[in-house]
């Protein structure tokens, strides 16, 4: 008895012995635009909301679903999902969490005034019904297998003010009241966001009593702030600094593959594509419509060089739309092997032995090293005879033109570098947006900037998206992915890897969704 007591005492003394401050300062690469969790469906906002609020279903660091404010969710018929809610959870103001909060959240989330990007994407087509205080039913008009994924993106607020309040009231803190592991303290745009520990949290209590987030958008400055000891953790360590920081004893790094694939989209649609020219600048029939040419381009890309040299090893070469381990990826697909001679042979076979001229367009402030990747690809294609010009521009100019810059709101460019992060954490997200036939009415192909269209693929995806059985859906999605990749609908180059830096003694649990969360910062 005595021994165990001493043991416990010792253990607690050992735990407490490194007299570390319980306060944490985190340097963020990009700042949330509001404290209102429904205002802007944007990575930094969603990450910040995870501190103060909870969701019914949480996504863990691998974006797998875990019980949050809901303890279970099951389909009770083709059109209805039953969610059992967690009992005994309290909001920061002391009020109880009940089904009413879920119902009013579902009302509010898609309808925030002035919202630049609402949560309607996830709430649409689903109605919620209160059965009792701790049970709700979500209903859809057609069988919908992705119910849990969609629900896992919506943040629950309180019906005692939270549902009725405005974005401004969230920003000044009056109704920034959630059930989450931290409580709101202050928000100064551009300067800092401060939260403190919620000692009554229903889940695992955070280690940190107070956390300050500071936005430091410049990469080298963020690294300098970590080195100078002004912050304890930084998000998005620039790839250029990874090697040096690995050698630095005062700093430790955490890395994890993200859900973002970087890929090339090619113009499948127009017979005369504006940025593809014959040698010397004349018009030619769009060679990108030929499978051999698309394959040749994919073969000409030295993915190892991109990963090792451009990304400094901080990336994984890609052969499909999501990295291994995600739901719906194919285990048959490998990244295309680098083979410049094979590429030249394929070009010759397609009738372009002397190549042609091409312009690659890309953003220069959106993805990690985006402009450098575009330039490297330009070099590689030029070397197999496709004389390539590299045009990069700020995303504010780029995305509008890439999506609708041409006549009749068609995509302007012929060959572009883009990225896609699968927010839902499974393969239907990129398949539906990037590969499916562009169809505004159906809501498919919204980012299909190459206007790839394949009826067989569409049918297959349609089947997959109405298959509720997980195992079957997984196989169908993998099959659809293989169909798209075999036809070179897009050319994936690599998956981004996110890197966090912490001062010595701390460790960050890397996440695939690129979120930087204080609960993920652990003491070593």
């Amino acid at each position: 008895m005595k021994n165990t007591a001493i043991g416990a005492l010792l253990a607690s003394a050992m735990l407490a012995s490194p007299v570390l401050s319980e306060e944490l300062t985190i340097g963020l690469a990009s700042e949330p635009t509001a404290m209102d969790p429904h205002f802007h469906n944007l990575g930094p906002n969603n990450a910040m909301a995870r501190h103060i609020f909870d969701r019914l279903i949480l996504q863990n660091e691998l974006q797998q679903l875990e019980p949050g404010l809901a303890v279970s969710w099951t389909p009770i018929d083709d059109l209805t999902w039953e969610f059992k809610l967690r009992e005994g959870v309290k909001f920061h103001d002391g009020s109880d969490f009940t089904a009413d909060d879920v119902v009013c959240t579902w009302e509010r989330a898609p309808n925030v005034p002035n919202s630049p990007s609402s949560f309607a994407t996830y709430t649409k087509g689903k109605s919620v019904e209160k059965i009792d205080e701790y049970t709700v039913h979500f209903k859809t008009e057609a069988p919908y297998p992705l119910m849990a994924n969609d629900v896992s993106t919506v943040t629950i607020v309180s019906d005692q003010g939270g549902c009725q309040g405005t974005t401004a009231e969230y920003n000044d803190g009056t109704i920034a009241v959630g059930t989450g592991p931290f409580k709101f303290v202050s928000y100064t745009p551009g300067d800092s966001i401060v939260v403190e520990r919620n000692d009554d949290y229903w889940g695992e209590k955070p280690v940190w009593s107070k956390v300050t987030f500071k936005p430091i958008s410049s990469g080298p400055a963020r690294v300098a702030a970590l080195l100078a000891g002004d912050v304890d953790v930084i998000a998005s360590v620039p790839t250029t600094d990874v090697t040096t920081l690995e050698k630095n004893e005062d700093v430790s790094l955490s890395q994890g593959v993200s859900n973002r694939v970087i890929y090339l989209h090619l113009d499948h649609d127009r017979a005369d594509s504006p940025f593809v020219k014959a040698n010397g600048g004349g018009d030619i029939d769009n060679p990108l419509q030929k499978l051999e040419v698309r394959k040749a381009i994919s073969m000409a890309i030295n993915r190892d060089a991109i990963v090792d040299r451009v990304m400094e090893g901080v990336a994984i070469k890609a052969g499909q739309l999501l990295p291994d381990g995600f739901f719906g990826v194919s285990d048959k697909l490998e990244p295309m092997a680098y083979d410049p001679d094979g590429a030249k042979a394929l070009l010759a076979e397609a009738g372009y032995a002397d190549g042609f001229e091409l312009t690659i367009h890309g953003p220069n402030d959106r993805y990690i090293n985006d402009a450098k990747i575009a330039e490297a690809i330009g070099q590689m294609l030029t070397r197999i005879g496709i004389k390539t010009t590299v045009e990069t521009m700020p995303r504010s100019v780029y995305f509008g033109r890439a999506s609708r810059g041409g006549p009749n709101d068609t995509p302007e460019f012929s060959f572009i570098l883009v990225g896609w992060g699968a927010g839902s954490g499974e393969a239907s997200s990129p398949l539906k947006s990037l590969i499916a036939t562009h169809s505004p009415d159906k809501g498919w192909g919204s980012s299909n900037r190459g206007r790839y269209s394949n009826a067989d693929f569409d049918a297959l995806l349609e089947t997959a998206l109405s298959t509720v059985d997980d195992a079957k859906r997984q196989d169908l999605l993998a099959e659809a992915t293989e169909m798209a990749i075999d036809d070179v609908a897009i050319i994936p180059t690599h998956y981004q890897v996110s890197t966090w830096g912490t001062r010595k003694g701390l460790k960050y649990v890397a996440r695939t969704d690129e979120y930087t969360l204080a609960i993920g910062v652990e003491k070593e």
């Binding site: 080195l227 030295n302 451009v310 330039e375």
Partner: protein, 295 residues
């Protein structure tokens, strides 16, 4: 000095210029830089603008490394695999072109407008000065962004953006000095003599505005080159595949903490040498050309 020697104006100018040893050194350095830049295609191992000659596998090599393609990169290579020695010589051409062209055009436009404003007065003056107000409050980034969106990227676009950003400075300063001069008696005398306006402006007012103008001119030419670099840093400058010194520096910026100093250090050094020598030559020119400094 040999008293018997006949003194031509040019000869006098030259001998006065040579009074400063620093200025001579600067002139020689500047001449060397210009010659090297002009000869770039013949004395560099690589054409850094030809993507077929640049290989990302040669990227970030430290100075003195043997390149994949078979020559030694004495100053190392940048992130995309450009030989820095070649890229710097080519880059100087672009930077000088951009800086001088933007500087001269802005100076000419700004001075002309400023003189007109000061001399004409009245509504013309008001109109011009309010246009200057608008121009000064207009960020170069916005101009560059609009130009990139409409016209794409390129040297000519960046020059336009820089001229837009800078002419107002000259106009404002010239007008201020010219106002002081116009109020002086000798201008009044010239007016009484019924000299033509152009004559008064160019022969009497302008020469007296020169001193502050040259100071601002040399500074602004240098800052045009630096501004071009900043625009590239913000992503709206020159094309990355045809780098100027400024683009090289802004590309090297992200490598500064990683120990690969050469990527921004050597282009930075080249830029520094160029600008310092331009300014030292400019300083001496100003002192020599200024009649009021004659002892």
């Amino acid at each position: 000095m040999n008293a018997a020697k006949v003194e031509t104006p040019l000869g006098r100018f030259w001998s006065e210029f040579c009074e400063s040893r620093i200025a001579i050194v600067a002139l020689i350095v500047l001449a060397l830089i210009v010659i090297l830049a002009l000869l770039a295609p013949w004395i560099t191992p690589q054409n850094p603008y030809d993507l077929a000659q640049v290989d990302v596998l040669d990227g970030k090599l430290p100075p003195g490394s043997e390149a994949y393609v078979g020559y030694t990169m004495w100053l190392g290579s940048d992130g995309a695999g450009r030989d820095l020695y070649s890229a710097i010589l080519y880059g100087i051409r672009i930077s000088l072109t951009v800086g001088l062209a933007a500087g001269f055009i802005a100076l000419a436009i700004g001075t002309a407008i400023g003189l007109v404003a000061a001399y004409a007065g009245g509504r013309v003056d008001t109109l011009i000065m309010r246009a200057v107000d608008i121009q000064l409050s207009f960020p170069a980034v916005l101009i560059a962004l609009v130009l990139v969106a409409i016209l794409g990227r390129g040297i000519d676009k960046i020059i336009i953006a820089l001229v837009f950003a800078q002419w107002a400075y000259y106009a404002r300063t010239v007008r201020a000095t010219a106002l002081v001069e116009s109020a002086k008696e000798y201008i009044e005398a010239a007016r009484c003599l019924a000299l033509s306006h152009t004559r008064i402006i160019f022969r009497h007012v302008l020469p007296n505005c020169l001193a502050p103008l040259i100071v601002i001119g040399t500074v602004q030419t240098a800052s045009a080159i630096a501004l071009e670099s900043t625009l590239s840093f913000l992503g709206v400058g020159l094309r990355q595949t045809e780098p100027s010194l400024g683009v090289l520096i802004s590309n090297g910026f992200e490598y500064m903490l990683s120990g690969r100093y050469w990527i921004s250090f050597f282009p930075g050094l080249a830029l520094l040498l160029t600008i310092v020598s331009i300014n030292l030559v400019g300083d001496q020119l100003r002192d020599v050309l200024n009649p009021r400094l004659k002892r």
